[in-house]
């Protein structure tokens, strides 16, 4: 049986080309796997630039002027949506917001029709969040625009993983007294990360594992049996444990996942209290972690459940920093997908025609 064309996941290419970032830009960001180690490193380098832009009195550059970014959020999420909208606006793109809680992105109405209607208004990029896995990939098949996955069911949340990596890099650079711009991704080599909690139902966990492993970190999953996926075959993790206390003394980063009580995670556990006792990150547990180790949480936090209030407020915790760097990382993602190297997909600029005349090769404009 020949490979069926319809299994193509929408043209996601790899950025792991190594030599030439200008030629291996992915078309979409549906999964962290679309970037590869090289792609992740490039996004981090761009984020540095956009952090600097964010510090300016007018934190705005015209890089995506004339482009339209549509945010299709079929799931409630103020923070992520605002972060993406801010990122798009700071790049001077126009933003179409589309929240579909209960509206025409609901059951029964063709998702394809809804998306193509919005696309007809002239959209260059869709940022899609949906409670069902795979919707961004489906959208990518239905429209010409670029698609960014802002969280799809239990599947992935690539920009969350990217901003978490950016945060770790920023903190580590500070620790060493080295400017973050001169810190590559070598700091992730051998970094010991524990991801704790409801891995089975966590899109953040899946993206984090892919990103951290691609960068060379050693990832251990810590969860009760009922909150681990049915199979870990093919997961680039170094270990799995059911005992948080055994793992904590040997980690550099403890990444705490949210217990998704509103999604029924509770039925996989005897009680929330039992979970908090066995897997909750308490002050006592943090004290058992090595000196200089970090605590992270994708937010929002269930204080007192997976993370104790006092731990959330502790210096080692990076939660607010993660939020701050989010806009710069999302600017980097939008920039990588929409700017540069995509001039060929729009009407050629007069300068492009000028430069291209005569010579067969592309000339560099000085």
């Amino acid at each position: 049986m020949t490979a069926l064309a319809r299994t193509d996941a929408g043209g996601a290419g790899g950025g792991a080309d190594g030599g030439s970032p200008a030629t291996s830009r992915p078309r979409h960001l549906l999964s962290v796997a679309d970037l590869g180690a090289e792609g992740i490193a490039e996004v981090l380098r761009w984020s540095d630039r956009f952090v600097e832009v964010g510090r300016r009195p007018n934190p705005k550059v015209p890089a995506l002027r004339g482009k339209t970014v549509a945010c299709l959020f079929a799931e409630d999420s103020t923070r992520t949506r605002l972060s993406f909208e801010t990122a798009a606006r700071r790049l001077s793109a126009d933003v179409l917001g589309f929240q579909a809680a209960g509206s025409s992105l609901g059951k029964g109405e063709s998702l394809r029709d809804t998306v193509r209607t919005v696309a007809a208004m002239g959209v260059d990029c869709f940022v899609v969040r949906h409670p069902s896995a795979g919707v961004p990939a489906q959208v990518a098949r239905w429209v010409d625009a670029a698609v960014v996955n802002a969280g799809d069911g239990w599947h992935e949340h690539p920009t969350q993983a990217l901003l978490d990596c950016a945060t770790i890099r920023q903190v580590m650079a500070e620790r060493r007294g080295v400017p973050v711009e001169r810190t590559g991704t070598e700091i992730f080599d051998g970094l010991r990360v524990a991801i704790v909690g409801d891995v089975a139902h966590s899109r953040v966990a899946r993206s984090e594992v892919l990103a951290l492993a691609a960068l060379g970190a050693e990832v251990t999953l810590v969860a009760p049996g009922s909150l681990l996926p049915p199979s870990l075959e093919g997961w680039p993790v170094t270990g799995v444990s059911h005992e948080l206390d055994a793992v904590l003394p040997e980690v550099d980063v403890c990444y705490v996942l949210r217990l998704q009580l509103e999604r029924g995670t509770g039925s996989f556990l005897p009680s929330v209290r039992e979970y908090a006792a066995t897997f909750g990150l308490t002050a006592r547990r943090v004290a058992a972690m090595p000196e200089g180790s970090l605590v992270m949480h994708p937010g929002p936090m269930n204080r007192g459940v997976e993370i104790a209030s006092e731990v959330a407020d502790m210096g080692r915790s990076l939660v607010l920093r993660q939020v701050a760097i989010g806009v710069a990382v999302r600017m980097a993602v939008l920039f990588v997908l929409l700017a540069a190297d995509h001039a060929s997909s729009s009407a050629p600029h007069p300068a492009a025609a000028t430069v291209a005349r005569g010579a067969a090769e592309e000339l560099v404009d000085d």
């Binding site: 996941a9 949906h130 489906q138 098949r141 239990w154 996926p229 997961w235």
Partner: protein
Amino acid sequence: MTDATRDAPPGARRSPAVVVRGGVVIDATGERRADVLLDGGRVVAVGEGVDVPGGATVLDAGGCVVAPGLVDLHVHLRQPGAEEAETVETGARAAVLGGYTAVVAMPNTDPPVDCAAVAREVLQLGEQAACRVAVAGAITVGRAGERLAPMAELAALGVRLFTDDGAGVQDAGVMRRALSYARSLGVTLAQHCEDRSLAAGGAMHEGPVSSRLGVPGVPAAAEEVMVARDIALCRLTGAPVHFLHLSTAGSVALVAGARAEGLPVTAEVAPHHLALTHERLEGFDPHFKVNPPLRSAEDVAALRAACASGTIDAVATDHAPHPPEAKELPLDLAAPGMLGLQTALPVTLAALGEAGMGLRQVLALLSWQPARIAGLATEQGGDQGGPVVEGAPGNLCVFDPAARVVLDPARLASRSRNTPWVGEMLTGAVRHTVVNGEPVVVDGEALR
């Protein structure tokens, strides 16, 4: 009026004689180079160089296999209730284009076939259809799994198979009572094995791929617990059980054990479970979503081996038409199912050919064995399954096993288009189909 006409089977239309020339006849008795002459709805001569009466229609079968018409134990014709997806007429047309001369329509229509009135409606629609349309009745009223449907009333209309397909009967006590009742009627219950409490919410096979993709999965156990249960109930009641669309290695192992014990258990498999695996869902394309889901390569291998060893008795398409909107939804919300009638022959030939099975063995699974399970076989008083001998009912499938055709959606007779094989190169094409002595497909074109 000739003798042939007087002996014509009921419902045979008066049409000119037909000669199928130049093919190789393959049926349960063997394989031989032979021409076939049909008249008055029956086969009147089989042999090298038969006399062709004047005015006879000649169907060129050079390079082709001439087999008894295929019989599909499992199709969803969607009528009544979902006619935008398919009707008895369009489904039957798809069937004959696929080489089928008889199909068994599943009862999960709206309203369901759980009473004589609805069964009669579908049977009447079937009388005008291009092929024979038999009807399966529901086991329980409304397919709700609680009260038994009026099986005797339905059996009186000729219904031989009963199933709540689309769902399995969840309560063992209800199933036990249904089996006992069915046994006394001499009809067969067929089970869609799916334990709802294990399968709930699943959109694909539960395994490494679903875990990586973060898609809720249906474990193999959801099917196997019900297979095991119904084997035990078969042992308890002595009633025959037919297992619909088996999909796991564990299920076929259970069936093999039951057969070794001598229990009256039969099983079918769908072509897509012989050909496709769960990796197809990596693009989150709902066209690969089906119930039971596409499983692992190990399951596919086990199903193929079970076909070769005889543990599986029939290939049945589970032809499931859906309008585009039903597939243009997120994966977990999309309707499960794919078309099957026009792709079953090439897909099955390729998949089982890879397992080393010969044409006659494959045709057994597609024609005379399902005919028997459906109660339509000639030796049961029906008109399906051959063998192709003098006096046999004129239901034939003439196909070229080597023809390579790219599936063009415009050539699908179904009202729906939900098949993953559109645009794919398929090997094996139906050239002619003859129903009750009348050609209904000639040179790949449907006449009705």
